[in-house]
Symmetry: C2
Subunit: 303 residues, 2 copies
């Protein structure tokens, strides 16, 4: 048996989230179907289920630029993807998957996982980004599927004051839907709002003329970056929605502080639109600490 | 009569190009229909045709991030967009257009055009960008609609050597479809290939941790920027296609130099896929030279 680490990205706009569901197009379901096809394992074969375990189970419409999953596969099955390709088995599998996957899923790479690696339980931190265009942003229509448009002017200082309150170990009960029996206590490592500078797509261009330095697509957008050990359900989108209320002046910082201090879900800060949200990064410990981390997390969390 | 300057952007993926065509969804047709609606002018009314003149007539599937058009409209008709809005007429028109236009067209702004302004004939320079992902680029699937994927490693030095040959006044007959009676002589002001550095979305982030600086969406892409007084039909996409042949080693620089020296269209360097191409910028002279420029260009070109 070999455990593979699969690094991938997807445009969440066409999926009902990561988790496999009957009759719905999901990322997990689409990739598992592709695995069954290229490894020639009949779907439903109990001896070889080809089931993915993922670091961040994204919701309907949420994107991932750097998602991580693992797959356990028998050596005999894995060998089937070699064919006539004179490359390592992991590379052969990546090529075959690319050939059958739809354009909204991209495999960045496949590797033999180090000893003790578990995509979900070994993870130390998850990073999410939320992209917003406010009244002063010039939105490129090609980014409409990954940006939330708000017709207001946002006060980033106020939003950063709110973000600062989230840093540390807190009960995010006002911003999350708890799983049955689960906790909404999480540790936020960093959280900040920034406006992307209107910057040249290619910063080092030698052209003498300023007008020849065309701007990057994301110039002028307002982005939220948040890193935590893990996130409770709907947590990022609820924090973003509440922060936008503060940034537009519809709610005060005191209101936000009160929600942090009194973690009771009261419905008023439900999750904001999913298309602005992207899972950006999963941080893992050094290889020799992977197993210990997974064991510790498995013991305390039913996330 | 008032002449309006309209600055706009569109995702070209859903349009059969700029120019209006019966029965096909085009950018011009879509905006003109919206203008007739918000200004309450019946379509086909000969007295008030509401016809747009554009700086860069993009082809099917080509995008524009900063396109410019003009519209002549009678003061009486323009006044109809005021309604109860306490804003200038140009702003009122922009808001009404935003409300009726589809999500793949964005109006950046509308202004009263300065005396002598002609969106097409006053333009001094046009800037286009072409985005490519080569074998070493990590492509975000959300950008698949504006990036050409090539499964090769590109030699940017060779491609820049080819680009350098295009700078100056040349007959681009090997790279363009001439209009009947038209010329394929154009003046390229600058042309260069660069790889977008893998850079943080927010360069000035104070976070101590490198891992918290998430990359911009375009990180790692290979982009071509070209500026010219104007472009002959298919010229940018043909130059890009030929440059990629040089960059991948399928053709030599001598082959490219020969095409530049002998401007005869021979079919082998037809235009490459449109989705990588974007009209990025139109440069106009100072206001007091707009009319003179338009007159001079009108006299020599039937572009």
């Amino acid at each position: 048996m070999t455990r593979l680490r699969i690094d991938l990205a997807y445009d969440g706009g066409g999926f009902y989230g990561w988790a496999k569901q009957p009759e719905l197009r999901t990322v997990q379901g689409t990739i598992e179907d592709a695995l069954h096809k290229v490894l020639r394992v009949p779907v439903g074969d109990e001896r070889e289920p080809l089931r993915l375990t993922v670091a961040g189970r994204t919701d309907t419409g949420v994107h991932a630029s750097h998602q991580v999953a693992h797959l356990d596969v028998s050596d005999e099955t894995l060998a089937r993807c070699q064919g006539h390709m004179d490359v390592p088995l992991t590379e052969a599998l990546a090529r075959r998957l690319k050939a059958v996957l739809p354009a909204d899923i991209v495999i960045h790479g496949i590797a033999i996982a180090p000893q003790g690696f578990d995509a979900r339980f070994s993870a130390l931190e998850r990073t999410y980004v939320y992209r917003v265009a406010d009244r002063s942003s010039e939105v490129d229509p090609r980014l409409r599927g990954c940006v939330l448009r708000v017709d207001e002017s946002l006060d980033l200082d106020a939003m950063n004051a709110a973000a600062a309150m989230t840093i540390g170990l807190h009960d995010f009960g006002s911003f999350a839907t708890p799983n049955p029996g689960g906790t909404t206590i999480r540790e936020v490592k960093t959280a900040y709002w920034r406006r992307v500078p209107v910057a040249s797509l290619v910063p080092d261009v030698l052209a003498e003329n300023e007008a020849y330095r065309t701007p990057s697509l994301e110039s002028g957008l307002v982005v939220f970056t948040i890193v935590a050990d893990a996130f409770a359900r709907n947590m990022v989108r609820s924090l973003v929605g509440s922060s936008i209320k503060v940034g537009s002046g519809r709610k005060t910082l005191e209101w936000f502080a009160d929600k942090m201090a009194n973690p009771v879900r009261e419905g008023s800060s439900g999750p904001i639109a999913p298309q602005g949200l992207t899972l950006e990064h999963i941080e893992y410990p050094a290889d020799d600490q992977l197993a210990a981390r997974a064991e510790a997390i498995r013991a305390v969390r039913t996330l």
